[in-house]
Symmetry: C2
């Protein structure tokens, strides 16, 4: 199962390894998360910051002016910690007070560097950004695979696990808390920061991830009529949330819209700036769920479809996440009546599997080459004009690449998974079109959020019909919009209110009971017919 | 040093005892705190309570109404703990929400009994009251000697200790936090309560006690111009203050007026109702400090004098606190030209020492019998008409009682201590008279707060001139007004605001720089002349 170079790196299969003495073990999945999309284009860091450091003079005191030292500060509810710092000063000197939206919140000492975290808790991946609150800079980040994956790859299976046994929710909660805790402590340690200088952490994620983070029993999210326990913003101490005492300060969970439009989407919508556009626009975040939002220049309509984990590689035979060695791009060139398939891998590492963008490319190639018809049926080996299909233990399959150590192929079953996922997302978009009367031609821009959007090849996306062909506008990746939104809430004073405006004014369209969606879903199960062969 | 009955109880002197195996040790001082004044007359418990339990229906949900469950509660910032409790309910049912001043703060589960603590942290004694928030009843209390006594008996010596070494403040802070923590856990355990149901703890004490509680370096309180770090109310979590994780909920420290008029006095003034009286009144709280307040029917004037610990027995040779066996009352009857001195002890236990009220009685008897003149000088043995004085290793002394095991007497040095303490308090009162133009005859009532006021014999107090003779009105003990005030802040919605009104409108008169006080102090060093012999 393992490559030679992996063996040389010390990688072993845990199921085949018997410890013979003390050893340290690290998980490859967690540590090999270098290709998780963490980038976003931050706004001008120094513009309009939420936090500022105010040099506050302490008036000289006398027997005629015996007011307490804290009376010189514009913040009556200073914490014991601040009062302890203030006590080291005296009248006639001055103190540095950290202010949040001009309101003093903490007395700082020399050398204190106030910082915060913005965390994006995806179902598959987790990213924590470290921000300097006074400069507004994102200093560093950590990205890992979500360790809750062992309880299931999508939100429904996580909810089922959490509700399947007495302490299931606590277990899921503890898992993500401990993971975030470790990532934060790593950042604190790497940058030689003081735990006391951690002021605030903004955490976004889908509604299920936030319920599990807060240890809130999530069963009602999974059962019709899909009722979350909370969608409003939650503000509490990190310890109330369950973090260790080495991770201090406040925690802020921005609000969600519904059970399946979470704070990752509200934050992403805010960060994308979609509601300030003067033309209709689409926002699409395809992960294990496919969340779509349509801005008609007045109202934001949103819906969520169960895309399934196909585009994250999870239900695909050789599917993997976007890690080094994942096949992320496939092209097929016909020359001399022969098809030459070229597969690119992330970091040009030896191929280990296939990730979302590779899977979509593979499906597009299959369709282009006539190896699968518009119903998604792969042709038989006899019908195969290019001799590209082969019989495997998993049935007929399309060989993407093969090395002496490993062959990676896409099976008929994989194509069905892609077909279902694609149908769910595109039917969701079409339902938004039907609801608003907006058509694809009117859309001025499409924002593809998250890791899915980052590596996609737009022609393949359109070839498989994931995005309808009548979208003529710019289709651009938004990067990690959820993480960006979380960072903006952390750093900029107007962000939380603006995000709340989006949240409270967004119109959520429930698809599970929508006949319009059902109709579109059935239609969209069919791949688009080939327009012209571009092999 | 020890009585037989004490030895039988297992009491030993730690300095003479070598452990020979595992043993458990408990401190007699701490546990023998049964006579600490903890009583106060509570108001009608059920009247106008701050907390209430609101039965909140959760509307049935459907695909047309997918709002989060928490949207049915009138409290958007519910804690993760509440959301966890809410998640066990579903649409169509109802939840019990604990409300503070009508604002929902916590989702309760069946069997939850919300409770709170009111703590009075005296320099000498500590009392913690347990209150049922929904009935307003004080269920139980614990009283102990303040374990910080080992750092000094008065606030100045505690401040000096705290500032004498690097972690001195932390040590003093840890001592009182651990003590309170233990007392609270004892109450929680005794009443079979859940730590999670502890909602709020209101803590009052003098300004130094509150600084040390919060771990705030207190040096500036002891140095002219006597500037506290904070006097405003502090609201934070119990953990921020430094309590263990088994003592939960919020902590509230009501505000102080100045370095020497603390939250114990603001709480006491509120609880005494003095500012609602329609006649001038005096409020006197004599502990190690003597705080006095005068209400002139419009404004409250207050001052603080360094009474010293004489009235708490601390600087008196045979002085002890108000514990079992303390001589608390002395009468002298002249019969057949012989003086018969009768000493009463607390709990009628064998005499172990003399406490505040006994000391004042003894001084009054000395003056009445002509054994000390108005300058405080004890007559010589030759001048002693009653043959009551005797020579001791500590000089001439007045024998109060003697048993085969122990003799208790008052020395010349003790009389000087009483004289200084009495002069400080009565000069403080006279300074308030001078500042306001009010005279003793105009005062309609005098409230004696705290343990000192509880056991006093008013004729003795007047005989030694602690209260001037022109006070013709009712002089009544107020009980533990500080504890009562803390409990009212915990239980009644208007109390904190009313206390804040008192705090912010009170006029503080600094005595250390007052020539008027200096003049009165010198005058008041002289005991009043004997009006008529009532021996």
């Amino acid at each position: 199962m393992l490559h030679n170079h992996e063996l040389q790196q010390g990688i072993r299969l845990a199921c085949c390894c018997l410890p013979e003495g003390d050893m340290s073990i690290s998980s490859v999945e967690t540590s090999a998360a270098g290709s998780i999309v963490t980038e976003f284009s931050p706004r001008d860091a120094a513009s309009n910051l939420r936090f500022s450091m105010i040099d506050t003079p302490l008036k000289q005191r006398s027997l005629e002016d015996q007011r307490a030292l804290s009376d010189d500060l514009n913040s009556p509810l200073l914490s014991p910690r601040s009062l302890r710092a203030l006590a080291l000063q005296s009248g006639g000197s001055s103190v540095k007070v950290l202010a949040d939206r001009s309101r003093g919140i903490k007395v700082m000492q020399d050398g204190d560097r106030p910082y915060g975290f913005a965390a994006d808790i995806g179902t598959t991946t987790v990213v924590v950004y470290l921000a300097d609150l006074c400069t507004g800079e994102i200093i560093d980040h950590r990205a890992q695979m979500n360790l809750q994956r062992r309880f299931g790859s999508d939100v429904i299976s996580r909810i089922q696990y959490s509700c399947s046994k007495p302490a299931g929710t606590e277990e899921a909660s503890r898992t993500i808390l401990d993971q975030l805790d470790g990532m934060m402590q790593d950042l604190i340690f790497s940058h030689d920061l003081h735990p006391e200088d951690l002021i605030e952490t903004v955490l976004v994620g889908n509604t299920t991830m936030l319920h599990l983070l807060a240890g809130v029993y999530p069963e009602s999210i999974a059962l019709s009529p899909f009722i979350p326990v909370f969608t409003h913003p939650v503000s509490c101490s990190m310890q109330e949330l369950g973090f260790s005492r080495t991770v201090n300060g406040r925690a802020l969970l921005p609000g969600s819209v519904s059970a399946y439009i979470g704070a990752d989407i509200t934050a992403g919508l805010y960060a994308s700036g979609i509601t300030s556009l003067d033309h209709p626009a689409l926002f699409i975040d395809v992960g294990t769920n496919g969340e779509c939002a349509l801005w008609d220049t007045k109202t934001l309509y949103c819906c969520s479809t169960a895309a399934g984990p196909a585009f994250e590689g999870a239900s695909i035979l050789h599917g993997i996440g976007g890690i080094a060695g994942a096949v992320c791009g496939i092209t097929a060139v016909i020359q001399d009546n022969q098809v030459q398939v070229t597969a690119r891998t992330i970091d040009e590492a030896p191929p280990r599997g296939i990730c979302g963008s590779g899977i979509i490319d593979a499906a597009a190639v299959l369709l282009d080459l006539g190896l699968a018809d518009e119903t998604g049926r792969m042709v038989s080996l006899e019908e195969d004009p290019w001799n590209m299909l082969k019989e495997t233990p998993h049935g007929t399959a399309f060989s993407i690449c093969s090395t002496p150590e490993r062959e990676i192929y896409l099976t008929q079953g994989d194509v069905r998974e892609v077909q279902l996922a694609k149908a769910a997302v595109s039917a969701g978009i079409k339902t938004l079109f039907s609801e608003t009367g907006i058509s694809g031609e009117q859309i001025g821009s499409v924002i593809l959020a998250g890791g899915f959007g980052q590596h996609l090849h737009i022609p393949s996306v359109q070839r498989i019909g994931l995005l309808t062909g009548d979208l003529q506008c710019e289709i651009r990746p938004g990067g990690n919009t959820a993480g960006k939104g979380a960072a903006e809430v952390l750093l900029h004073p107007e962000a939380l209110d603006a995000l709340e405006d989006i949240r409270s004014s967004a119109r959520y369209i429930e698809l599970s009971s929508s006949p319009v969606f059902q109709m579109h879903f059935i239609e969209e199960m069919i791949f688009p017919e080939q327009e012209n062969s571009n092999g």
